[in-house]
């Protein structure tokens, strides 16, 4: 075989990894890579408009498909623009490989033009990172990067690629397998621990299942469903796991936590056993730790040992892959007799559903979400961050794994539009609905350009309350209504702006127009459609567990 340039070795290696799309932006220190991509029709290059958007698009692709997303940027500012996207993927354990160009090795450390120590910058926000200094290393590093990104607890891996290594030549030899002696994730739970957990389950009187994003990541929705149904234990699924268990099922207590259902939060507080699967006892779920589930034994199944016992003391830790551990447990468990407890959770569920009050003739944001659910029940929903995200989580009833994509951990506003682009490319046959906020939409609005260019039939629905609504809500409740830096009435007309981008843009200001507009959007498939729903500005998200309160002290709503 003829020697080839490092940049071409990279492309050949990416082909071996089965890479279908690269999201990226060109620039000086990455030019040889983009040049090599010019001759690689198997890999489709998606030119985004900002590196942050490219990172979120790769992330959205990975969330929608489970396949490693790939983003490519140049050195310096290109690389630093990826930082938010990498941190977003890291917090939610999304498999991603971020490739950055780097200046020539002899210039590194010299404050060269567009130089930045991106390995140093990203060290705390990625699973691992590599610097390619010679073309000889390219294939091995790419193989290791993909292996690390996609196995164990997945996460983003940064590959920084010096320009001289991109240009110098080596023979292509792709490793047949990857063996990293310091990296051997345990996937099978310990049988003795599993037996202990099963015993606790069989003896529990008030057990609940608490499942999170790990179930989605390990494709364990089927096993989770079997586990819940076989044991008959009621289940709450976190923001990151929504859809992993159908919210339409009688056992579902819906989402827990700060803006979760009263049923789930009361159940945590009264339970005598919590079986946590791929969830990490996040502060937004537990509320005040001292008051969290005081009577419960805790079983925690997680692939990352450092997640177990981090926030909450665990009685039975099980380190392993959710799918494998649940499959094993399903062989051992039987139905548990918890009739009085089931009556109690059903009562809470019936008594305290998610609810809101219509205010005058305003469009209530929750109403819009309910209509989206009725018209697009099977769509993949890509949510952003803020009030609309919570309303979407509450009022859309998710039934499938990977049906809900959002930045849960880092809470990155601006995530959703570029992520929707990645999701649509990864799932061309699915309807992708982007539920966005007026504040988050404008943070990455430039990514409407590639959506239009690629003729992606995205449904972009803006829940526009002319405020940074979640912050405004906190100011109303905890800062004496001092509305500092949250008023967004000066935003442009998003419908007109969409048209300027070449998309379809609609503005909806009356209740009776909500459904017809959503129906209309269903039939616009030659490109993205943006609907700007002008909703009630004053609506807040309830229920709410205020900071410092226990889950049992949830505020159900304001009178």
């Amino acid at each position: 075989m003829e020697p080839m340039r490092g940049a071409n070795l990279l492309i050949e290696s990416l082909k071996r990894e089965g890479v279908e799309y690269i999201f990226g932006l060109n620039g000086g220190a990455a030019m040889p890579i983009f040049d090599a991509l010019y001759d690689a029709p198997d890999i489709k290059l998606i030119p985004m408009r900002h590196e942050q958007g490219a990172a979120h698009a790769a992330d959205g692709y990975a969330r929608a498909t489970g396949v490693v997303g790939v983003v490519l940027a140049t050195s310096g500012p290109g690389a630093t623009n990826l930082v938010t996207g990498i941190a977003t993927a890291f917090m939610d354990s999304i498999p991603m490989v971020a490739i950055t160009g780097q200046v020539f090795t002899h210039l590194m450390g010299n404050d060269a033009f567009q130089e930045c120590d991106i390995i140093g910058v990203t060290r705390p926000i990625c699973k691992h990172s590599f610097l390619i200094k010679t073309s000889d290393e390219v294939a091995d590093i790419v193989a290791e990067a993909f292996h690390i990104a996609s196995t164990g607890r997945p996460g983003p891996v940064v590959v920084d690629f010096a320009k001289d290594a991109q240009i110098s030549e080596s023979i292509f030899r792709f490793p047949e397998s990857v063996n990293i002696r310091g990296y051997k994730p345990s996937v099978d739970g310990h049988p003795r621990q599993i037996a202990k957990a099963v015993e606790l389950i069989h003896n529990a009187k008030r057990p609940i299942i608490y499942a999170g994003g790990g179930v989605v990541l390990s494709e364990a929705a089927k096993e989770l469903r079997e586990f819940a149904i076989k044991t008959g234990i009621p289940i709450t699924v976190t923001l990151m796991g929504l859809g992993a268990f159908p919210e339409t099922h009688p056992l579902s207590m819906e989402m827990p936590g700060m803006h979760g259902s009263c049923c789930a939060n009361y159940a945590f507080t009264d339970s005598d056993l919590i079986v946590a699967v791929g969830a990490r006892f996040d502060d937004r779920v537990t509320g005040e730790l001292k008051k969290f589930a005081p009577k419960a034994n805790k079983v925690h199944i997680d692939i990352d040992p450092s997640c177990i016992g981090k926030n909450v003391a665990i009685d039975v830790p099980i380190v392993g892959d959710a799918k494998r551990v649940l499959a094993k447990m399903n062989e051992l468990v039987h139905h548990v007799d918890i009739e009085p407890w089931r009556r109690q959770t059903d009562e809470w569920k019936e008594k305290y559903p998610f609810e809101y009050h219509q205010r005058g003739d305003k469009i209530m944001p929750q109403y819009v979400i309910q209509q989206i659910y009725e018209i697009y029940p099977d769509a993949v929903i890509v949510g952003d961050v803020g009030q609309h995200q919570m309303w979407a989580a509450q009022y859309f009833k998710f039934t499938q794994s990977r049906q809900w994509l959002n930045s849960g951990g880092l809470g990155t506003m601006g995530f959703s539009l570029p992520a929707a682009i990645g999701a649509q490319l990864g799932c061309p046959d699915k309807t992708i609905v982007n539920i966005n906020g007026d504040g988050s939409y404008i943070m990455t609005i430039q990514e409407l350009v590639p959506a239009v260019t690629l003729k992606l039939p995205l449904k972009i629905f803006i829940i526009n309350n002319m405020y940074l609504g979640m912050v405004r809500q906190w100011q109303e409740l905890f800062h004496q209504k001092r509305y500092s830096a949250v008023d967004y009435h000066d935003n442009p007309d998003f419908a007109l702006l969409a048209q300027a981008f070449g998309a379809t843009g609609l503005r909806v200001e009356r209740i009776e127009d909500v459904r017809p507009a959503l129906e209309k959007a269903k039939h616009i498939n030659e490109g993205p459609v943006v609907i700007d729903f002008i909703v009630d500005e004053d609506e807040n998200v309830f229920p709410m567990v205020p900071a410092g309160a226990g889950l049992g002290d949830v505020i159900r709503g304001l009178a």
Binding site: Y183, P305, S306
Partner: protein, 163 residues
């Protein structure tokens, strides 16, 4: 909660950036490193680190788990829970005018330390030992006037046959 000192013995890949990853693990979580020693093992591609740190049981468990989580970390042992030998080397430069030199040298002898450098006004002493011995010798020498003191940080090894 009770804070304990722990000695972690860590085998790592001998690559650039590994030390930064380990340091970042501590600094990013607000944990403290009391001492850190790094050097190659007899396999040039593997380095050994001895990290002395302190914290309550929960923090120590997190440190152990996060060290293990690093891709470049091959093996982590909490030596505190094992039967082990620990040593540290200290170099001490003393103020030593000719009339005090004799007394200092006596202390050096008693503790089986060594004199490694001498000048008209100073005496440099090398001493190896565990924490208790080093503290004792430094306490004895202090009244004579310590000009400068450097220590390697602890290194430690498990006793007996490898498990």
């Amino acid at each position: 909660m009770l804070e304990d000192r722990h000695i972690f013995s860590v085998l790592v890949e001998n690559r650039f950036g590994v030390l930064a990853r380990i340091a970042g693990l501590f600094s990013g979580r607000g944990y403290n490193i009391d001492s850190l020693n790094v050097a190659e093992t007899d396999h040039p591609e593997i380095s050994h680190m001895t990290i002395v740190t302190h914290g309550d049981a929960q923090i120590i468990e997190q440190i152990y788990k996060h060290l293990n989580k690093l891709i470049d970390v091959i093996k982590v042992t909490d030596l505190t829970t094992e039967n082990h030998v620990e040593r540290e080397l200290v170099l001490i430069k003393m103020n030593a005018s000719p009339n005090r030199r004799g007394e200092i040298l006596q202390i050096v002898e008693i503790f089986r330390a060594r004199t490694v450098d001498v000048s008209p006004a100073t005496l440099t002493i090398e001493i190896t030992g565990d924490e208790g011995k080093l503290k004792a010798v430094i306490d004895m020498l202090r009244p004579y006037g310590i000009q400068e003191l450097v220590r390697t940080g602890k290194i430690a090894i498990m006793r007996g046959a490898a498990k």
